[in-house]
């Protein structure tokens, strides 16, 4: 079953401005790219001993965001996620493995990398957009999941 979602250009652009501002703040103050998979995966072994506290703080900030939003606005975060365990496990493994192998995800390559005009990030973003589009097309319009 495919659920439609409302077109929200203003809220989505505002969210993008916040994401961009966050990336600029991180670079200006700590000198780091706002790459979620980089911060998260380096909390896992093997350890190279680089700033675990900063990495934990980054993950904690992400975890605190939705509860803070719900508390301040008094409205629930709209959120519909698959309940197919097989699909979830496969997706999680691919996302985790692919982001480390490809040195980044939607944030590090898709936002920060493109903003730096990095050829690697432009290539990575074009590739994961293409395989993401193809995957959704096959699932919804060929396999009918």
């Amino acid at each position: 079953m495919i659920e439609t979602t409302e077109f929200t250009p203003l809220a989505s652009a505002l969210g993008g401005i916040l994401i961009g501002s966050s990336a600029v703040l991180l670079m200006a103050f700590t000198g780091r790219l706002a790459g979620v998979s980089g911060y998260l995966s380096r909390l896992l072994p093997p350890y190279t001993g680089e700033q675990p506290l900063e990495r934990l703080a980054f993950v904690a900030g992400l975890l605190a965001a939705a509860p803070l939003y719900a508390f301040v606005t008094g409205s629930a975060v709209t959120h519909v996620v698959s309940s197919n365990n097989g699909l979830l496990v496969a997706a999680g493994l691919l996302v985790g493995f692919g982001s480390v192998l490809g040195s980044g995800c939607t944030s590090g390559h898709g936002v920060c990398g493109i903003a730096r005009l990095s050829p690697r990030s432009l290539a990575a973003t074009a590739i994961f957009m293409a395989t993401g589009l193809a995957t959704v097309f096959i699932m919804r319009h060929v396999a009918g999941v």
Binding site: S12, T30, S37, A66, S82, L88, F97, T106, A124, M129
Partner: protein, 146 residues
């Protein structure tokens, strides 16, 4: 200070993910479903985020060094190699299957959906596997003074 600033910035990042709709996997899948229930909202998110980051980085790099650190930590590799291409391809397939990438999945974790727990657990296993398998070493971040 670095730790506090990092927390503040990632909180802002997470709020951006919530407000934009990226924390909703169905909206992400609809963004990728051009032939069906297409919701182009996230085009605005990407465009705004890239524009703000791009302009902001220009100003930040002009300053020469970060406020709380000695140097900017930027990747030095420029080669588009097989690791990058295959990693991005695999990542995109997983992203399309459920509509989660790492940031939104972490943001959605406290919302308490069973599906998010399963996804994040598997994602950590996938990350760990890529880190410990005997693959060629991931590129290192080298300090750069721009």
């Amino acid at each position: 200070m670095q730790v506090a600033l990092t927390f503040f910035a990632s909180l802002l990042f997470g709020l951006g993910l919530v407000i934009s709709g990226l924390a909703n996997p169905t909206k992400v899948q609809n963004f990728l479903d051009i032939a069906g229930a297409w919701d182009p909202s996230l085009v605005f998110t990407m465009a705004a985020a890239i524009l703000v980051t791009g302009l902001g980085y220009v100003l930040v790099f002009k300053r020469g060094r970060p406020v709380f650190a000695e140097t900017f930590q930027l990747p030095t590799t420029t080669r588009i190699d097989l690791k990058l291409v295959s990693g991005a391809a695999v990542f995109g397939i997983g992203w399309g299957l459920v509509g989660y990438c790492p940031g939104p999945a972490l943001v959605a974790l406290p919302l308490g959906k069973h599906g998010t727990y399963v996804f994040v657990g598997a994602m950590l296993v996938g990350m760990l596997a890529a880190r410990i398998l005997p693959l060629p070493r991931r590129q290192n971040m080298k300090p750069i003074n721009q």
